[in-house]
Symmetry: C2
């Protein structure tokens, strides 16, 4: 019986205490075969001098295919030796197939069945120049990886083929005993030698916490910065903050650098979902598990955790930003963001919190500069909501559940106005609930959960895509009958037809008053 096999000696000690049947099966039956395959891929690369001989892209394409196929075959052979693997797919053959056709796998419990998704050789463009490349494996509990909760991806195995062959492994079992290392996630590093020798090099890889001695950045697809002022500005800010550039273009070695140094932020932006290069199943999700188990964060191009969404198809693609949590995650607006976020609005109110998860970068037009002043910033502009019957109906109905819940959410804060507007930047408009609060009355820590809560209230009422922003603003009382005479049309041309909305950013308060404005949406 599998449960009688001793655990391998290279398993980190914190995982050897009462391992679950799943972890036992994984580490005694599946992982040794995968480590052996990675070692063999390393040995194959070591002698594959002629693969990289041809400099031209076409010929190299053929050669590269040979190395890819060799690696693919080694991986498939390893999986064939493991009766617990039900289905597998790979970047080379991106379709889930049964590994043991015709064989009954009913003999093992469902806790000990796995499906595997892998990229046998990642980094084809840098194989010829003899740079480090990688092998990526994601192991899912159960008989398929598709349509499953990403929490079912319980293990990642990343082989680094450099001067040595090393392996980064992450294990996190949603079903393990609460509080155990296995449930919380463990990331460790192994060193492979000849004759399937495996050494535990680092039993517990953890990214560092600030302050950092050196900060690293890895900007993938840098060419995109020529087209995207947002990306260009981000690059510019890394340079001005004196981050050290470390980007070799191999996803696994690039991640390995961050884990070894304890710091780094890797950014792979995408122009559009259709142009994304990284496969979620073979690249993004396995990387995501490693990063999370090492205490970091990995988000997609929209700022969502890459492990939040299931994979529906083998070819699904996306962008990724990963690294130390504070580099990636939602953090309080910097002083610069708080001060400049509303650049373009006459009073430029101070931002307190927002529900949006995209990292703020100083929106420079049309390029970037190391001197991020306001001179070249895109202005933020406001527009009325326009036609949106569902929103109008619920928002303007004094007795609606939407109104009641929003009012309850903001009940404890000194809010002065609630408005729904389209907030625009460089032609891109976002439907936004704007909450104005009295200056110095609310912190980001208190306000941020409210912004997230309000966004959720709209979603639960069937209204998608409404973000929430909280800003400081004194309010100038007026009616919805017309414009405040102190505000000329040219200062707010975009919202001149909304009347009452103006009260929220009148910049010269004649009589600052705490006055709560629940602003109606004008009927279309």
């Amino acid at each position: 019986m599998a449960s009688q096999s001793p655990l391998p000696p290279w398993l980190p000690p914190q995982l050897t205490q009462s391992p679950s049947p799943t972890l036992h099966a994984l580490s005694t039956s599946l992982l040794p075969h995968l480590l052996s395959a990675i070692s063999q891929i390393g040995a194959t690369l070591r002698t594959s001098h002629h693969v990289s001989l041809v400099g031209s892209a076409n010929s190299f394409g053929d050669d590269q295919l040979n190395v890819d196929v060799a690696s693919e075959n080694l991986m498939r052979a390893a999986l064939a030796k493991c009766p617990l693997v039900v289905r597998a797919s790979s970047e080379e053959d991106p379709e889930e197939k049964e590994v043991h056709q015709g064989e009954a796998s009913g003999a093992v419990s469902s806790d000990e069945r796995f499906s595997v998704a892998f990229d046998p050789l990642d980094g084809s463009s840098i194989i010829a120049p003899n740079w480090a490349v990688g092998t990526i494996v994601g192991i899912w509990k159960g008989e398929t990886a598709l349509g499953k909760n990403p929490r079912d991806q319980i293990c990642s195995v990343l082989g680094v083929h450099g001067p040595r062959t090393t392996v980064i492994v992450a294990i996190r079992e949603a079903g393990a005993a609460q509080g155990s290392a296995s449930a919380e996630g463990v990331c460790f590093e192994l060193g492979l030698g000849d004759n399937d020798k495996v050494e535990l090099l680092n039993p517990n890889i953890k990214l560092s916490s600030p302050p950092y001695k050196t900060r690293y950045f890895a900007p993938a697809n840098l060419r995109f910065a020529a087209d995207s002022s947002e990306y260009a500005t981000l690059i510019s800010s890394f340079i001005t903050k004196k981050y050290t550039l470390r980007y070799c273009g191999g996803l696994v070695p690039d991640l390995g650098h961050i884990l070894t140094k304890g710091h780094g932020v890797y950014v792979n932006p995408v122009e559009s979902a259709s142009k994304a290069k990284l496969r979620r199943l073979y690249e993004v999700l396995p990387i995501g598990l490693v990063v999370e188990c090492a205490g970091g964060k990995a988000v997609d191009e929209n700022g969502k955790d890459v492990l939040a969404k299931e994979v529906q198809g083998c070819d699904e693609r996306g962008g990724i930003v990963f690294g130390n949590t504070d580099e990636v995650e939602e953090v309080p607006p910097s002083e610069e963001e708080a001060r400049l976020y509303y650049h373009g609005l006459p009073s430029r109110p101070r931002l307190i919190a927002r529900s949006g998860t995209r990292m703020w970068v100083n929106p420079q037009m049309p390029g970037f500069t190391t001197f991020l002043g306001t001179q070249n910033m895109y202005p933020r502009v406001l527009q009325p909501v326009g036609r949106h019957p569902q929103l109008h109906q619920q928002w303007n109905d004094g007795s609606s559940s939407l109104r009641a819940q929003i009012l309850k959410a903001v009940d404890g804060i000194n809010w002065t106005a609630l408005d729904i507007l389209r907030v625009g930047l460089n032609g891109e408009y976002t439907l936004t609930l704007m909450i104005a609060v009295l200056p110095d009355s609310l912190s980001w820590r208190d306000g941020h959960p409210i912004a997230l809560q309000c966004k959720g209230i709209f979603e639960s009422h069937g209204i998608q895509g409404v973000e929430c922003e909280i800003r400081e603003s004194v309010v100038n009382l007026c009616t919805n009958a017309g414009l405040d005479p102190a505000m000329s049309a040219s200062e707010s041309p975009d919202i001149s037809d909304t009347g009452i909305v103006l009260v929220v950013w009148s910049y010269l308060p004649k009589a600052p008053t705490h006055y709560s404005n629940f602003n109606y949406l004008r009927e279309q």
Copy 2:
């Protein structure tokens, strides 16, 4: 006798025709030992998992020293086996020492004696994350590398320790038969296997010529771009021109990428000579030989060929820019440079040629932008020469040899004025002979040699540091008695005391005339 040994089978065919005694000795006696040492360094790295185990810098420092020492010892042992090597020094032990102390080396001819300079393991910061690193060896003909003509560095051997162990070799013998491959320089790639197996992978590495399919750039010390608007602007121009970023931070793998892809430009700027990191003897010069033998160009931070100047001390340092010749070398001013070089001068004359070899980048202040307009450009400004008795004396003497030679150099062109001024940009002033020519009368191809010649004439008269610039300019005749009334003082405040100089860029010619002004320097 050494000359009886057969040439090794991995030597490229073009080198096996009537090899000189030097080449024969090099390839039969010295190179095999070095290749064996590089192979052993690769094998050592392959099993040195614990070297990179410790993440902290201090502990890693100790571990790293161990790998460095191991590699150093392997190299020293290899050299000890080779009686032809007289002296050697390395980055680990940077002092030239006799390899065979007390032994008489008189038995071999002076053509078969070598000195060796090497860096056993280059790229210490990326050993821990298991990225590709390198071994660098420079082989000099004779008994020392110091104070010698860099042409005596007849061979470079660069080991690339990646998934495989490969070696890039360059051989160029100044003394070989004219027109032979050996005299012109050959760059080739070897693959190393177990048991000292050596394979010839690419017998003739040559960088591509334009147009390029993909263009690559490798920006070392990118943090410096935060302090240098010139470097920042260069980076910005690579991005806007959509060069692909490939920079791993290991000098040898970075060069290997460029050679494999056939294109690339590597830039390692230095803030000042004292802050330069790269050692000329162990890094810059061996790299330079490889680049030149592959048909590329390698220059220092001042635009001079890195192989133009001898090495006086083992610790001498410098910057380097290398890659395809057209990316690195003196090329005609781009349309942008021709048009904007004199931004800041009232008439902004068009630049035809200049003797300076520093790559022109749009001098943006204070940062960089992908939109390289003139709005943020540093203006070029002019100042009188100031105190320089030697120059005044020779320049103002109508019968001096300096004058005669300059006048002869410009004899065939339609020059309209000759002036010596200090040309300044962002506070840095360069003593410059400015030659004005009639519009459309001179091309860069004809003008550039004249600019270089004039610079040389000053040097041969003991006046160093005078550059030469040729520009198009119509001339407004006036005397040296005072200012042209059409030019207000505010437009040329820096040179208002030079009087006659003004004629060369009067922007509104009252009566365009071909008039040759040999402008005197005002006495101090």
